[in-house]
């Protein structure tokens, strides 16, 4: 393979060939940087590129390999969603209010990647503060879907998903509060995994909704997702919500065959609704047939409170956001707009520094928490959250994993939904419940619509069920070739 197409490799393919001495981490990193320079004017996946730092990290990885070290991420070029703190590198959250913020420390997930010898290429675009489903809420620019540049890549981790799909990195970190890893993965035709709440430390992740936020991975295939997750997962004393539970060997846990005998798969009837794109339904049903063909026992299950997930999520997440984003006051970091007095300065700073969707959600959350409405909205939503979680607990008594669509439609046109926030919220309708229940879920490619746009299959598992969902997804992947398709760029 000529070095010019090294960007097409998966993480595990690149690792094998780096280990065999076929090329160096510097050559691999140069190939990916060239790819970025060639494409990113059109795709616009990156907010910040770090070519010099990346090449220095690649040289360091080559030196480590030369003295005998051989680990899966050594010298692998990756991208980081710009909501994760990176020491001495701008971390904007896609917001004007943090345009000039340079963290003095690394988030734990990024620090673990660096220890593992990964090469950090840069920071990827996102909806401002990870609030959105298309990257159109970025204060800087919209990322374009590599499969059709007139369409959105999904969001909020749209920059990371587009970068993986376009070969502008070998893998990426994203975050998923209500679907922000799985939905863009689906719309860009890549793998996106949201781990169980508490599986990955949130230290250094700029908070949006603290009871829902979780760092996830975007990759070209399931094996790569297992490799990346294994590195970033695990207990961290600096995040009291990170679980003190051993991290399995996710990659070896995939199994080498495609046999799904005795695996019980549930298909929730509530995830096939009126108004969804017909191909989103037929493609997912065809994928269920493939799983059955591999020996899985497929049965219908019910998650009866699914229809309430949207209001529950869009009350709880904005309520938590309104509290978390109170810290942007123009005092300790970020933008300050002088308004005269202290209170007026707060208001002017926040009025100018936040974009329309962030202000909308702060308003919605403030309202849900305010005197007279707390019981009717916020408390009510928290109680309904208990019912949504109980639905999953009951379903996982009957089945091992649940499969469903990720998104009711394939990638929509840029500008198509920006005028109607409720329509935009509805694009998350199949991903929100996983976050509310705190369980794990992933998206993997399972087909294309008539227009050639990718469709994702969602595989959901119980808390700490990552090995199960990865194994089922891996078996499906081995039986199909959707994951090998690349956009025509």
């Amino acid at each position: 393979m000529a070095t010019s197409v090294l960007y097409q490799l998966t993480i595990h393919e690149a690792h094998e060939r780096l280990a065999a001495g076929e090329f160096t981490a510097v050559e691999l990193t140069e190939a990916v940087l060239e790819r970025i320079l060639a494409l990113d004017n059109d795709v616009k996946a990156y907010l910040t590129l770090m070519p010099e730092e990346a090449l220095a990290q690649a040289r360091a990885a080559d030196e480590r390999r030369a003295v005998g070290e051989e680990t899966p991420l050594l010298g692998i070029p990756l991208a980081i969603k710009d909501v994760l703190c990176t020491k001495d590198v701008p971390t904007t959250c896609g917001s004007r209010i943090l345009e000039n913020f340079i963290p003095p420390y690394d988030s734990t997930a990024v620090a673990r990647l660096k220890v593992a010898g990964a090469v950090i290429l840069g920071k990827t675009n996102l909806d401002e503060f990870a609030m959105g489903s298309s990257t159109e809420n970025s204060a800087f620019f919209t990322t374009h879907n590599p499969w059709d540049l007139s369409r959105v890549p999904g969001g909020s981790s749209g920059g990371s998903a587009a970068a993986v799909a376009a070969g502008e990195c070998l893998g990426a970190l994203g975050t998923d509060t209500g679907g922000s890893v799985r939905q863009p993965a689906s719309l860009c035709g890549v793998v996106g995994l949201k781990p169980t709440y508490g599986r990955v430390s949130r230290y250094g992740l700029v908070a949006f909704a603290s009871s829902l936020d979780q760092i996830g991975v975007l990759t070209k295939d399931i094996t790569d997702a297992a490799i990346l997750l294994e590195v970033i997962a695990g207990h961290d004393p600096r995040d009291s919500t990170s679980m003190d539970v051993p991290v399995p060997d996710y990659n070896n846990g995939l199994g080498k065959g495609t046999d799904l005998q005795r695996v019980r798969i549930g298909v929730p009837k509530e995830y096939f609704v009126e108004g969804m794109q017909p191909e989103a339904e037929t493609t997912v049903c065809a994928a269920v047939d493939v799983l059955a063909g591999l020996g899985a026992e497929v049965q219908e299950v019910s998650l009866p409170h699914t229809g309430y997930a949207l209001p529950v999520y869009y009350l709880i997440a904005p309520a938590e956001a309104s509290a978390n984003l109170a810290r942007y006051d123009g005092v300790r970091y970020g933008l300050r707009v002088d308004g005269g007095g202290l209170i007026e300065t707060y208001k002017a700073t926040r009025g100018q520094g936040f974009g329309p969707e962030v202000k909308r959600r702060i308003m919605l959350g403030t309202y849900a928490l305010s005197a007279g409405y707390y019981d009717a909205y916020y408390l009510k939503a928290q109680k309904a959250r208990t019912l949504i979680k109980a639905d999953f607990d009951a379903a996982f008594e009957q089945v091992d994993v649940i499969v469903a669509p990720v998104s009711p439609t394939t990638a929509f046109r840029i500008g198509e939904k920006t005028g109607d926030p409720l329509q935009m919220y509805l694009s998350d309708v199949f991903t929100l419940s996983v976050n509310l229940a705190g369980i794990c879920g992933l998206s993997l490619p399972c087909g294309f619509d008539a227009g050639g746009l990718p469709i994702g299959l969602q595989v959901m598992g119980p808390a700490l069920g990552e090995e199960r969902i990865l194994r089922v997804a891996y078996a499906y992947e081995q039986a199909t070739d959707w994951h090998t398709r690349r956009p025509p760029l």
Binding site: S211, G307, D329, R336, R360, T366, A381
Partner: protein, 95 residues
């Protein structure tokens, strides 16, 4: 659930957000539509249901009380919009 202009202004005041006249009108319409959609939540009988604030069991997280070095003051102040004498500088709070 229709929000009034006064309610929108009150929420913006609580959230410390300066809004333009256009934003006030827009948010009045959009938040009203969103809240109306959310009315379906009231169909659910949740009286006997306990709320879920976090999916993790409530527990105390303890660690050894060992001294550690904080971030250097200048590193933290480097991100401040205004600093003076090793402190964050803010507009006068008292007249």
């Amino acid at each position: 659930m229709k929000l009034s202009q006064e309610e929108v202004e009150h929420i913006a005041e609580l959230a410390r957000l300066a809004l333009s006249d256009e934003e006030r009108v827009l948010y009045q319409e959009q938040l009203s539509a969103i809240l109306e959609h959310f009315e379906r939540l009231q169909e659910l009988d949740t009286d006997p249901i306990p709320p879920t604030a976090s999916v993790l069991p409530l527990r105390s997280v303890m660690r050894a009380d060992e001294p550690r070095s904080p971030f250097p003051r200048e590193d933290i102040l480097a991100n401040a919009p205004a600093a003076e004498g090793g402190c964050f500088k803010v507009p006068a709070v008292l007249e």
